[in-house]
């Protein structure tokens, strides 16, 4: 099985554009045949670039909860031709078709995500966003948010351990909610205090809203070739979809 090393050598902007392009293109597809073709292409792409198919399936499983909700509701509630009845449950053809279509599109997009940006280092993603002309302030929030996730998570774990040591066992009671509310409040206060200290220290060191990085982002020829070929495939899929929807009949 090929590893994802070749994709990791590409410029992060290439991978970000690939993921975004796929998401928008596949969302626009209306024909179930083209969605099926899209999923097959995405699966080939993902199997080529991800280290193992077990990891791929595991990641897909986690991300398919909303699709499970769609399957549990849409075929049973969407009006249309009844094709299967199991006791009080009646499945409509239109509902099943819609659920299948959504499942195909969603998983095709997820497969490309998993192969391109799922393993990307988040600060690198932030710098890629900046180089793609995202607002500097938005990139600042992105990088700071990423930085504080670990701080807040550690703070929360510390408070949880302290509560457990005092015999706190969560259940559906006012005491539990009050304790959790206080723990949340304390986490927010401590984190905001810490963030202000960090920001003041940054100001003292001449921070002007822009983060400097030693990571070099450079578009190589193979990046441009990859983007051009990938977007050509997406364009072909879109044209085929338009042909099937508007001209085939």
């Amino acid at each position: 099985m090929a590893s994802g090393q070749a994709l990791q050598t590409m410029d992060p902007r290439t991978l970000l554009l690939t993921a975004a392009g796929t998401a928008f293109c596949f969302s626009a597809i209306q024909s179930i045949t083209i969605s099926c073709a899209g999923l097959m292409l995405a699966a080939i792409f993902a199997l080529r670039w991800t280290p193992s198919w077990q990891l791929l399936l595991q990641r897909l499983f986690v991300a398919n909860f909303f699709i499970l909700f769609v399957w549990l509701t849409v075929p049973l509630t969407m009006p249309g031709i009844n094709i299967l009845t199991l006791g009080p449950l009646a499945f409509s053809l239109e509902g099943i078709t819609l659920a299948v279509h959504i499942t195909l599109k969603c998983n095709a997009i997820l497969l490309i995500y998993i192969s391109t940006i799922a393993d990307m280092d988040l600060p690198t993603l932030g710098y890629a966003m900046e180089r793609l002309h995202c607002p500097v302030k938005l990139v600042f929030i992105f990088l700071f948010t990423y930085r504080y996730i670990y701080d807040i998570s550690n703070e929360w774990k510390k408070l949880q351990t302290a509560a457990k040591l005092r015999g706190f066992s969560p259940n559906t009671s006012l005491h539990t909610y009050r304790t959790i509310g206080n723990m949340f409040g304390l986490t927010i206060i401590n984190s905001i205090n810490k963030s202000h200290k960090v920001y003041e220290a940054m100001l003292l060191r001449g921070f002007n809203g822009h983060f400097h990085t030693t990571a070099e982002l450079k578009m190589h020829n193979h990046d441009i070739f990859f983007i051009l070929s990938f977007f050509t495939v997406l364009l072909i899929l879109l044209c085929a979809d338009l042909y099937i929807i508007y001209c085939h009949d």
Partner: protein, 201 residues
């Protein structure tokens, strides 16, 4: 609460992006870097809170807390939630890039509305503070689930019943979020009133 990729129509996805872009532009324009630091901390808190399960009856629910963010951040709630949802999409594959616009708008817009309606209540007496915090927490979740349900129903008529189920399933979360927002705001009012922005009163 997140809508997955491939579910909504391209028209709705575009509308979501346009509205979120407008909200984010205003949010970023109004905030200086000091305020953005607070926004980033609260965005991280939103991210971590979504992984924490709170007991409810025999099961448990995970929190949203968009109302709490709205209460503290105002317009800056748009960029804060945009970033938090982007991180969730990249790290956990919840939601996605194409639906990022509509998912952000669904959560940020009700939070902003609640901020405009109830923010001033926090600086009045205790009863107003409790009522304001509860309404902000509960109505933000109600608004978010209503917007998500509306997006689903507008995208395809087949989702109409699913949208109703989605909204109904969020009713217990609205109550829990309302109560927790009251408790968090009360704790902050007692221990660090300056954060509420009404210390002098």
């Amino acid at each position: 609460m997140h809508i997955s990729e491939g579910v909504l129509s391209p028209v709705l996805l575009s509308c979501g992006y346009v509205l979120t872009a407008a909200g984010t532009y205003v949010g970023l324009h109004k905030a200086d870097y000091g305020r953005l630091t607070t926004a980033a901390v609260l965005a991280s808190f939103f991210f971590v809170a979504s992984l924490i399960h709170v007991p409810l009856g025999p099961g448990n629910v995970h929190l949203i807390l968009n109302g709490l963010l709205g209460l503290f951040l105002g317009w800056t709630v748009f960029p804060a939630l945009l970033v938090a949802l982007l991180l969730q999409a990249v790290l956990f594959r919840y939601g996605g890039i194409a639906v990022l616009g509509i998912n952000t708008f669904d959560m940020a817009f009700p939070a902003l509305l609640c901020h405009c309606l109830f923010r001033s209540w926090l600086c009045k007496n205790n009863i107003f503070r409790i009522a304001g915090a509860f309404c902000c927490g509960a109505l933000s979740v109600a608004g978010a689930s209503l917007c998500t349900a509306a997006a689903l129903a507008l995208s395809n008529e087949g989702f109409l019943t699913s949208a109703k189920i989605l909204f109904t399933a969020h009713i217990p979360i609205m109550i829990i979020e309302g109560c927790l927002t009251v408790l968090i705001v009360s704790y902050i009012a007692k221990n660090r009133p300056g954060l509420l922005g009404c210390a002098q009163s």
